[in-house]
């Protein structure tokens, strides 16, 4: 079997299949119809010959046979008697030849040149007829033209089993053949026309059916070039292409969303880098054009620039962290007993906490499956947020409790809290709020990164906050 898959276009393949089926079916119909006509003509001719011959032969037997003859009559089946019969059966249409019981020619009915010639006797067929077969007909050739031959056995009376001779009536079939030949040609022309028209219309129809696929292909090309406004318009079709169009649109919607958020992210990241760079360049320019002549200005601006460079480095590190988490998170999960982990963590966090007491509110004894480094980073991020937004000496509390499938850890501060509009966007990248208690700028990426780190371990994160009362961040870890 030849594998056509993928080698030719769908249109070509469907078209070829369609043309093949059309040719086979129309060809077969034509052939059977031709064959039927041929059969009809032949049968008709045979019965005609027999119908004409039957009364002549009956009359001849009645005349030539003695009255009250028995089965053994016509013992002396002479050539003279045979010739009489042959003459009577011969016409312009047919010629009769009479054979005796041993298959020898007794008489040939042809007298006039316009009468057709008889074919050479076929010994096997004559033998078959002599043995009592009534329906022996066959085709023979005379002067390279087809001749229909009918053999009629001669019996003393219709019921007798004795055959004393055979009459061979042959008729040229060329006239018939001529008609059939024209009929055949007409049929061929019809078949070819039907196939050509059928294939033409078929291709058109297939092309029309597949046109929407082409439109989809073009839309795909446009999307590949970056035009995400492209949508499939044939969503109202009830067929497979309609279903494809619907799925296609859903896919493009999602792609567009991802693309746009990526674009916004890059724009925001550029913004986040350009702002400090603007400050740095401006400060450098002011210093170069004379600001450095004043030691107080020089000192103040240099320190501010140093802080800004550190901020830039923090932003870049967070961006790197985000990209690492999004592309190839390297997570090694290990069992961690929270009641053992937190006292150790409290010591580590001592430097970060400065003047804020860190309270560990011990929860139940539980082991979580988590990446230790990620867990520590999550907690450090949340703690630094908490102290950045809290007045000095206000405590930050960490605790945990068991949920049905997770352990929920919370980090609570008693700081300034957030307004609703800030709370709603807190996890979005580059969404940062100015703190009343700290001059240090946020990177706008801390909570985004924390969210990604939680999700990378199969957890979720949320926060509750009320202005003036404080903020609590909850995140879950699997057992």
């Amino acid at each position: 079997m030849i594998n056509l898959n993928g080698k030719y276009s769908l249109k070509t393949r469907l078209g070829l299949l369609y043309a093949l089926l059309l040719i086979v079916s129309v060809g077969m119909m034509g052939y059977f119809s031709y064959w039927n006509i041929w059969q009809l003509f032949t049968k008709n001719e045979i019965s005609h010959l027999r119908a004409v011959a039957k009364p002549v032969i009956s009359q001849w037997i009645k005349t030539e046979q003695p009255v009250n003859a028995t089965d053994s009559s016509f013992v002396n089946f002479t050539a003279q008697k045979a010739l009489k019969l042959a003459y009577q059966l011969t016409s312009r249409h047919a010629v009769a030849v009479v054979f005796n019981g041993s298959g020898k020619i007794l008489a040939d009915g042809k007298q006039l040149p316009e009468e057709p010639s008889a074919p050479h006797p076929n010994a096997a067929m004559i033998k078959k007829s002599l043995s009592g077969h009534n329906e022996v007909t066959y085709w023979a050739m005379v002067n390279k033209k087809p001749v229909l031959v009918v053999l009629i056995p001669l019996r003393p009376n219709p019921k007798s089993h004795r055959v004393f001779g055979v009459v061979q009536i042959s008729t040229p079939f060329s006239g018939m053949k001529h008609i059939l030949y024209h009929y055949g040609i007409m049929q061929w022309i019809a078949v070819v026309l039907i196939v050509i028209l059928g294939v033409l219309f078929g291709f058109r129809f297939i092309g029309w059916s597949l046109k929407d696929l082409n439109r989809l292909t073009i839309a795909c090309g446009e999307i590949a070039k970056g035009d995400f406004t492209q949508r499939a318009s044939m969503i109202n079709r009830k067929d497979e292409i309609g279903q494809l169009a619907v799925s296609f649109n859903v896919m493009v919607d999602k792609l567009e969303g991802v693309f746009l958020s990526q674009k916004h992210f890059v724009a925001n990241a550029a913004h986040e880098l350009l702002t400090p760079l603007t400050g740095l360049r401006g400060s450098l320019e002011v210093l170069l054009r004379g600001g450095s002549d004043d030691p107080e200005v020089q000192n103040r601006m240099t320190k501010a620039m140093y802080k800004e460079v550190n901020h830039l480095i923090r932003v870049c590190n967070r961006l790197l962290g985000l990209s690492r988490l999004e592309n190839a998170p390297h997570i090694i999960k290990q069992p961690i007993v929270l009641s053992n982990f937190f006292p150790a963590f409290q010591k580590q966090a001592h430097y970060l906490m400065q003047n804020h007491p860190l309270v560990i509110d011990k929860g139940p004894f539980v082991t979580v499956m988590t990446d230790r480094d990620l867990l520590e980073q999550i907690l450090f991020n949340l703690l630094s947020n908490a102290i950045r937004h809290s007045p000095v000496n206000k405590p930050v509390t960490i605790g945990w409790k068991l949920l049905s499938q997770f352990v929920e850890i919370h980090v609570s501060d008693e700081g300034e809290g957030m307004e609703k509009e800030i709370r709603d966007h807190a996890f979005e990248p580059f969404f940062s709020s100015q703190s009343r208690f700290s001059a240090e700028k946020g990177t706008g990426l801390g909570l985004t990164l924390t969210k990604l780190m939680t999700e990378a371990q199969g957890g979720t994160i949320r926060l509750e906050s009320s202005p003036g009362k404080g903020t609590t961040v909850f995140f879950t870890l699997p057992f």
């Binding site: 400090p276 400050g279 400060s283 450095s292 501010a304 001059a439």
Partner: protein, 230 residues
């Protein structure tokens, strides 16, 4: 002494505020700053400014909105907007909301100064004078002609730039490094002693002998003292 031109800066980034304030003060402007839109509005209510530098992204409001509010209140002072976004649509939005000019961060400080000068000129706050006068010296910044006591003198571009800087900032002491940066560019990598050579040439061409127009401040640099006309 003429009244200082007063500029208000509404911008939340501390580093940007600092360099803008310092840099503009060096240029002789009186600078007031505000970190939030609300604060800026309060200051504008009670004081008169000749120019407003407005950041588009403020923590409490949108610069476009603030700009429109100011115009609706009938404030006509020139507004220069600062923004990160450099999309045409944003620039149009900025100008439509009532801003007079638009500068994209990060910008070159000299361009900011040029735009401030252009805005003030348009308001008629400063003249379009291309001529600088200091005592007997008459200098045209466009034709680059310098007349000393009515005599045309020929200066190299560096000497010309030095003279312009001196005339624009009389009595101010410039260090050699500052002169080098401002006259030869921030990326000039030679020694600052080259300034001594240029200053000496300039002194000779100005016939600056006993008059001491350009004075050496020992251990620091140079300062320009124009001859007071009687």
């Amino acid at each position: 002494m003429e009244e200082k031109i007063k500029i208000l800066i509404i911008e939340d980034d501390l580093l940007i505020v600092d360099f803008l304030k310092t840099g503009l003060q060096y240029e002789g402007y009186g600078v007031t700053t505000a970190g939030r839109g609300k604060e800026g509005l309060e200051i504008l209510k009670n004081n008169i400014f000749q120019l407003l530098i407005l950041d588009v992204m403020l923590p409490d409001t949108d610069g476009f909105v603030l700009c429109r509010q100011l115009r609706e209140k009938g404030m006509a002072l020139p507004i220069l907007m600062l923004t990160i976004r450099n999309e045409v649509s944003d620039r149009i939005k900025g100008l439509d909301s009532g801003a007079d000019d638009y500068l994209t961060k990060p910008f070159v400080f000299d361009e900011l100064l040029a735009r401030i000068r252009a805005l003030l000129r348009r308001q008629g706050k400063t003249s379009v004078s291309r001529e600088l006068v200091a005592g007997d010296i008459l200098l045209n910044t466009e034709t680059r002609e310098v007349l000393n006591n009515g005599n045309l003198i020929d200066l190299t571009p560096t000497e010309f730039a030095l003279l312009v800087l001196f005339i624009q900032h009389p009595h101010r002491v410039f260090t050699r490094e500052t002169l080098l940066n401002r006259v030869l560019g921030y990326d000039y990598e030679g020694s600052s002693n080259i300034i001594d050579v240029h200053v000496n040439h300039l002194r000779k061409k100005l016939s600056d002998g006993a008059t001491r127009l350009i004075r050496t401040v020992y251990g620091v640099g140079y300062a320009f003292y124009p001859r007071e006309n009687d």
